[in-house]
Every structure is written in structure tokens, then in C-alpha cells.
């Protein structure tokens, strides 16, 4: 072959490749934005043969047991409906959901994680269907407190979290509190300073006060917010996470909280090498009697009760003033949402209603979960850790004391705040540097959002 022909052939091939690889603006084809008619309750039994594809992340222990029981019950009640379940782990679901929801064979019902990275982006791309009409028809508002509904809200441009349309409903509640070893701690503290005294006494006795491992980065958020909620106003934290009313991270209260934690680390109230210990080894050590307290969420109830029996208790971090309403970090599990591409939104809504009904809440308790809605009135065995956790959940809802996770604040705040907390806890940054640094990234997000 002649040199010229060869060059021409190569050029043609390269051109074809570039054409195949590039060309259109990515994401250029606009998503389906057909206007939805407001819907009402339907009789699912008369909906004909329907198959619902459902993507969820209930793969562990009690979570898995409850969803399998409820799916079975739903299909028994409506034999014309088939639930095609796709179960994925939490992080698998979060990383694959966007592709699935934007594909032509999108699932009907998905668990779309709260916050900007998943729910916000799906909303922005018009891939989730607002469910306010169904919420009205089924009375979902009566099942949840205001903050639990806000956690599943987004404005329809996907920019403002915690306001606007409702995009899903959750099944289980979760609150971060303090687990304590009943053999070492006779009485849960009533005030924050009493708690600090107990830490001091433990240390003086040569015991580890708080078990903690932060190698996985995210546990630090729980440690920080457990203290932050005792200093900062709950509304200020909510405003910060939902980015409203000019809220800031760089506040005196947040600096106080950071300083308190640094003091705990300096006093030896935390294990010496916490940044190098994983989350699972840490709570496993707590079950073996290493550490009087463990600051963690109610998701550990099952594991801890199994390992420690009746030797473990749970309380909400006590307030600085005796008798004040409790404030604690918490929220609810991933909301069940309906995709815009679903051909059976009515049936999907009936499924959501079924999963969050008072009957379903009883199934959740029976399978060892803390139900988001306390309407079911189900009782866990008296004196069990689950009963204590449910009581704490009911109290925090009564006190309207739930504040959301800081990492919901911006799309990349998780990376920022986890790294910043690791630095702060290792006392490589001062409380001032800590609050200023995190605020800097947050400010950029607000500017970019306009």
C-alpha cells in the first residue's frame, strides 16, 4: 500500500473513532419531562398485571428480614403485582443508581439517598417523580415529623435541599446516641457535665472512657455532632445543612464543640490511636468490655445486643442544662422514591404506602428495626436494647430534637468534613481553623448555586 493511501486510511479510521467517541454534548438529550396529572389512591387489585422493579439497599440483618417479609405480604395481598427486587449494598446502590434511573429500562421504585449527591442530582435531571399528591391522598404527612419530611424534600431544580417537593418516604428511623456498658456505668448521666465527669472517673480508674475508631473517616461526623448538638442551636444546624437563612459553619458554638472534643482527645478520653482503627473493630472492642461508652447510631442495636445481651444500654447525649429537651444527630433510612419513567406510579405509590404503614412499622419492630413512624404502636420486648433505642427515638421526635448529618450540606461536603474532622481530632488544626476551613468550601457551594 502506498504511503499516501495508508495515511488516508489512518485518518479515516481516526475520524470514525472521534465521531464515535465524541460529538454530542453529554447528556444533551433532554429527560422525559411529561407533566404528571395529580394522582389519587388506586385499587391495586384492579390495576391488572403489574411488575414493579425495585432497587433497594436492605441487605443486612433486620433490614433484609423486614423488606422480604413486607414484599411477600404485599404480593400476597395483591397477587396481580410482581415485585422484581434488586438488592444492592449501600455504596453500590449510590454509585449505580444514577445510571439505572437514566436508562430506558429504569426501575419503578428506588431508594434514593438523601442529600445532593444522589437525590439532588436525580431531581435536577427530572428522574424522580414528586410524591406530594400521593402523600396527600394517603396521608403520609401524618406519619412523620416535619424534619423527617424535610429530609426527603428538594426544590424541583435540585438546588435547595430540605424544601420544595417531597420525593420519597422512609421506613426506619436512626438516631446517634451513647451506648454504655452497664457493668461499668451504673446510671446514665442526666447532664453533659455529668457525662464528662463519668469520662473523668473512668480515666482515673484506668479504664478507656469512649471507644472510637475513625479510620473509615465517617464515624468522626457522629462524634463531632454528638457534642455539637449540645452546644449549637438545633435550628442553626438544620439551617446549615439545608443551606438557608444565611447559616454558617464558622460559629462560636461549633468552635466550642471542636475544642471540647480536642480536650477529650488530649485527656485520653478517646483511645490513643483512633484515626488508625476501623469502625467495626472499635464497636467489637466495646462489646468485649474495652470502653465504657460508644457514640454510635441505632443501626448497631442488633449487633451490640447479640454480643452483649442485657449488659448494654443506650441513652441520648444529655443536654448541658438538666431537664432541657434533647437534641441529637439522626434522621431516617434511604427514602423510597418513584422514578419519572415508571409506567405504574399509582401502584408504586400504593407500594410505598404499604411499606410505611402502621402495619409495616410493626413488622420493622419485630425484625429488630427502629421504625421511623411511631404510629404503629408496636412494642419491642421490655428491657431490650431495641426498646431503649425506640424509646430514645420517640423522645427525640417528641422533643423535636433531630438534626441532620452535616455531610448532606453540599455535594462534596462529605469529603471535606470527614478529612477536616480527622485533622481537628488529631489536633493538627485549631478549632478556628477547623470551622473556617469547612465554611470556605460551603461558601463556594453557595456562590456557585447562585
Amino acid at each position: 500500500m502506498r504511503y499516501r493511501t495508508r495515511v488516508a486510511l489512518a485518518a479515516a479510521l481516526l475520524g470514525a473513532l472521534i465521531g464515535a467517541g465524541c460529538g454530542a454534548t453529554p447528556g444533551g438529550e433532554s429527560a422525559d419531562t411529561a407533566q404528571q396529572e395529580p394522582q389519587r389512591k388506586v385499587d391495586v387489585a384492579k390495576a391488572g398485571k403489574v411488575s414493579l422493579t425495585v432497587w433497594d439497599q436492605n441487605v443486612r440483618g433486620g433490614q433484609s428480614r423486614q423488606i422480604r417479609a413486607l414484599n411477600r405480604a404485599f404480593q400476597e395481598r395483591y397477587p396481580n403485582v410482581r415485585i422484581e427486587r434488586v438488592a444492592k449494598s449501600f455504596s453500590d446502590l449510590n454509585t449505580t443508581l444514577k445510571l439505572a434511573a437514566s436508562s430506558n429500562k429504569a426501575p419503578d421504585v428506588v431508594q434514593a439517598n438523601q442529600g445532593h449527591p444522589v437525590m439532588g442530582q436525580l431531581v435536577k435531571a427530572k428522574l424522580l417523580r414528586p410524591v406530594d399528591d400521593y402523600a396527600k391522598a394517603y396521608g403520609w404527612q401524618q406519619r412523620y415529623t416535619r424534619v423527617l419530611l424535610d429530609l426527603n424534600r428538594f426544590t424541583d431544580d435540585g438546588k435547595h435541599y430540605g424544601a420544595g417537593n417531597l420525593y420519597g418516604v422512609s421506613q426506619a428511623g436512626e438516631v446517634v446516641g451513647v451506648y454504655y456498658n452497664k457493668e461499668k456505668v451504673p446510671q446514665p448521666p442526666e447532664t453533659f457535665s455529668e457525662f464528662e465527669q463519668q469520662l473523668d472517673t473512668a480515666k482515673a480508674r484506668g479504664e478507656l472512657p469512649i471507644q472510637f475508631g475513625n479510620l473509615d473517616k465517617w464515624p468522626g461526623i457522629h462524634e463531632f455532632q454528638a457534642v455539637q448538638t449540645q452546644f449549637a442551636d438545633k435550628q442553626a444546624i438544620r439551617d446549615f445543612v439545608f443551606a438557608r437563612n444565611g447559616a454558617s459553619f464558622d460559629t462560636a458554638e461549633n468552635r466550642q464543640a471542636a475544642a471540647t472534643l480536642q480536650e477529650w482527645a488530649a485527656e485520653g478520653f478517646l483511645p490513643p490511636n483512633f484515626n488508625g482503627v476501623g469502625y467495626d473493630p472499635a464497636w467489637q472492642r466495646f462489646t468485649k468490655g474495652q470502653g465504657q461508652f460508644l457514640i454510635a447510631g441505632t443501626w448497631l442495636v442488633g449487633d451490640l445486643e447479640e454480643a452483649m445481651g442485657d449488659k448494654v444500654g443506650f441513652f441520648l447525649m444529655p443536654p448541658r442544662e438538666a431537664g432541657a429537651p434533647r437534641v441529637a444527630l439522626g434522621g431516617e433510612d434511604l427514602p423510597w422514591a418513584i422514578t419519572s419513567k415508571s409506567e405504574h406510579p399509582d401502584v408504586a405509590a400504593a407500594y410505598l404506602d404499604f411499606l410505611t404503614s402502621p402495619d409495616a412499622m410493626r413488622v420493622l419492630v419485630q425484625t429488630g428495626n427502629v421504625p421511623a413512624s411511631t404510629a404503629g404502636g408496636a412494642q419491642a420486648p421490655a428491657g431490650s436494647l431495641l426498646a431503649e433505642a425506640i424509646a430514645a427515638w420517640e423522645q427525640i421526635n417528641r422533643d423535636d430534637g433531630l438534626v441532620p448529618y452535616l455531610d448532606y450540606a453540599t455535594p462534596s461536603f462529605y469529603d471535606q468534613i470527614t478529612a477536616d474532622i480527622q485533622q481537628m481530632l488529631a489536633r493538627r488544626t485549631s478549632p478556628e481553623q477547623f470551622t473556617k476551613g469547612a465554611q470556605g468550601q460551603y461558601g463556594q457551594f453557595l456562590e456557585g448555586r447562585g
Binding site: 500500500m1 482503627v277 478529612a419
Partner: protein, 310 residues
């Protein structure tokens, strides 16, 4: 094309050929290249070009992207966190590439100097880290590095060196080398196998000559073994450099880039931006930069290796 030339000549296509002298490439050669090229194009070239294209947009992966030209590349250079991620991977080069090659050379020299009984078994055991999946390796090393009951700290304490026991993955100064050493552990087996194979190819007469000249084991190594392994070293360095720079799984499982940002690497940022924070364009730009750095380094290594010997 040169391989096609040889292939055609041996098949003897010239019998039917009306075109050109025997041994000259025929047009039909390109037909033989086509299947391989199609696969290569579909799975390597097209995705590569597509990434390059995406890197010119601000795109969240779902809604319409916005053309921003080279802005993403500007950000890669301007963002101090990304710069430090690239610096970290240069540090990892020492642990992933330089150290394994050194260890591999020592082992190859030791295993090949004189026949050792059960040498195959030794080689298999030493090669084992290469065989284990990286995620398994990472989970295992998380346990080994555990500051409280990990074997390393327990050994140090038992030996009365408790002062050296530290939080391997949690200390800001130690975490990056600690992650790097896992890389050394994984990669040295590959280097060793390449080198032991290479040593067998060096004529025994060279060793005999060296010995007659009175060379000891060390001198013999530098005079005969090392120059003889030039090509193998280049191959080992190329493979380990690539592994070092695109390292993701090890960091993801052991430290998630922590403590703070002490162990972030470019590939981790690519993953975060593409799959978690919805900055696909930026992720593509980092990926392209990473590919360019890998290409430049491996090109350099091979240029140096191919320089004619003195």
C-alpha cells in the same frame, strides 16, 4: 506492520500475488489487523477519546453538560488538593516501583546463584502476594496495621520496641509510606519472577569468566547479572509504575485517602468526582492527566532501557 510482513512471507501468499515482489506487505494484511484493531478501538481508543471529549465539559453525568474548554485542566493544576494527590502518587512510585525492583533483584540473585533445594516452592511462596486480589490484600493489611492488636505492633512490643509501635494508617506522617509498603509487598513478586527468568537467559560462560577473573558475588552481580537484566528491569519498572500511578483499590479500602488528605491519590479523586459528587468532566480531566503522566514516565523508562549499552 512488521509482524504482518513476516506472517505473510511464511504463509507464502506470494504464490498468488500479482502485486510486488515476494515478502513485501500486501493490502490484505490490513484485513488481518482489522479484528484486533476493532476490539482495541472499541474498548480502548473510543473510551479514551470520549473521556478527552467529556473533560472539556462541566457535566454532572445526567443533565446537559456545559462546554467549558480547558477549564477542568486549569482546575487540576490550580487545586492544591489535586496537586498533593499527584505528589502522593509520586511518593508511591518509590514503594511500588523502586523498592520492588530492588527486592526482586536481590531475591533473583539469591535464588539463581546456585541451585537451592525446593527453589520452585520458594518462588511460589514469594510470588503469592501477586496472586491475591488487591481488595483482599487491603483488608488483610488493615488488620496487620491495627494499632492495638495488629501483628506489627504486637511484635514490636514483644521485642521491647513498643516505642516504635504507632497508628500505621492513622498517623499523618506514616500513613502514606504504610500504604506504599503494602504496594512493595504486592509488587516485588512480579519483579522477582521476571528477573529469575531473565537470569536463566544470561550465558553461564559470563559467570564463569567473571569468577575466573576473581569476582566475588557482589561484583559478579554488578558486572554480569545487572547488565544482563536490563530489559527485564525496564519491563518490571513499566508495570510497577503503571500500578503505582493508577492505584485506587488499596487506598480506597485502607484509608479512603485519610487521615485528613494524607493518602489521597488521583484515581481516588476520579472515582469520587465521577460516581459520588457528580463532576464527571473534572473526573475525566484528572483521568486524562493521569494517563499522560503514566505515558510520559513509561516512555522515559523504555527510552532509557533501549539506549545502546556502553
Amino acid at each position: 506492520v512488521s509482524s504482518a510482513r513476516g506472517g505473510l512471507a511464511t504463509v507464502g501468499f506470494a504464490h498468488h500475488g500479482a502485486v510486488g515482489p515476494p515478502g513485501e506487505p500486501r493490502r490484505i494484511a490490513y484485513l488481518y489487523l482489522l479484528p484486533a484493531f476493532a476490539v482495541f478501538g472499541a474498548f480502548v481508543l473510543v473510551p479514551l477519546l470520549h473521556s478527552a471529549w467529556l473533560s472539556l465539559f462541566t457535566w454532572d453525568g445526567l443533565t446537559a453538560g456545559r462546554w467549558t474548554g480547558l477549564a477542568n485542566y486549569g482546575d487540576v493544576l490550580a487545586d492544591p488538593q489535586l496537586r498533593s494527590a499527584f505528589l502522593h502518587s509520586l511518593v508511591l512510585l518509590v514503594f511500588y516501583a523502586a523498592l520492588p525492583v530492588l527486592v526482586g533483584l536481590v531475591l533473583a540473585a539469591a535464588l539463581s546463584r546456585r541451585p537451592i533445594r525446593g527453589v520452585a516452592a520458594f518462588r511460589a511462596v514469594l510470588f503469592l502476594p501477586q496472586v491475591v486480589a488487591m481488595v483482599v490484600v487491603a483488608v488483610m493489611w488493615r488488620m496487620i496495621y491495627d494499632p492495638d492488636n495488629g501483628p506489627i505492633n504486637e511484635l514490636l512490643r514483644a521485642a521491647g520496641l513498643g516505642g516504635l509501635a504507632t497508628s500505621w494508617l492513622g498517623d499523618f506522617g506514616v500513613a502514606l509510606p504504610a500504604v506504599g509498603l503494602v504496594g512493595t509487598w504486592v509488587m516485588y513478586g512480579l519483579a522477582m519472577v521476571l528477573f529469575t527468568a531473565g537470569v536463566q537467559k544470561i550465558p553461564q560462560s559470563l559467570y564463569e569468566a567473571a569468577r575466573i577473573d576473581g569476582a566475588g558475588p557482589v561484583h559478579e552481580f554488578f558486572a554480569v547479572t545487572l547488565p544482563g537484566l536490563r530489559n527485564e528491569i525496564a519491563v518490571a519498572l513499566t508495570l510497577t509504575t503503571i500500578a503505582a500511578l493508577r492505584n485506587f483499590d488499596l487506598v480506597y479500602v485502607t484509608t479512603q485517602g485519610g487521615p485528613g488528605t494524607a493518602t489521597t491519590v488521583p484515581a481516588l479523586e476520579v472515582y469520587n468526582r465521577a460516581f459520588r459528587t457528580g463532576e464527571v468532566g473534572s473526573a475525566a480531566a484528572i483521568g486524562m492527566c493521569l494517563a499522560a503522566v503514566i505515558f510520559a514516565l513509561t516512555f522515559l523508562i523504555n527510552r532509557i532501557a533501549e539506549r545502546p549499552a556502553r
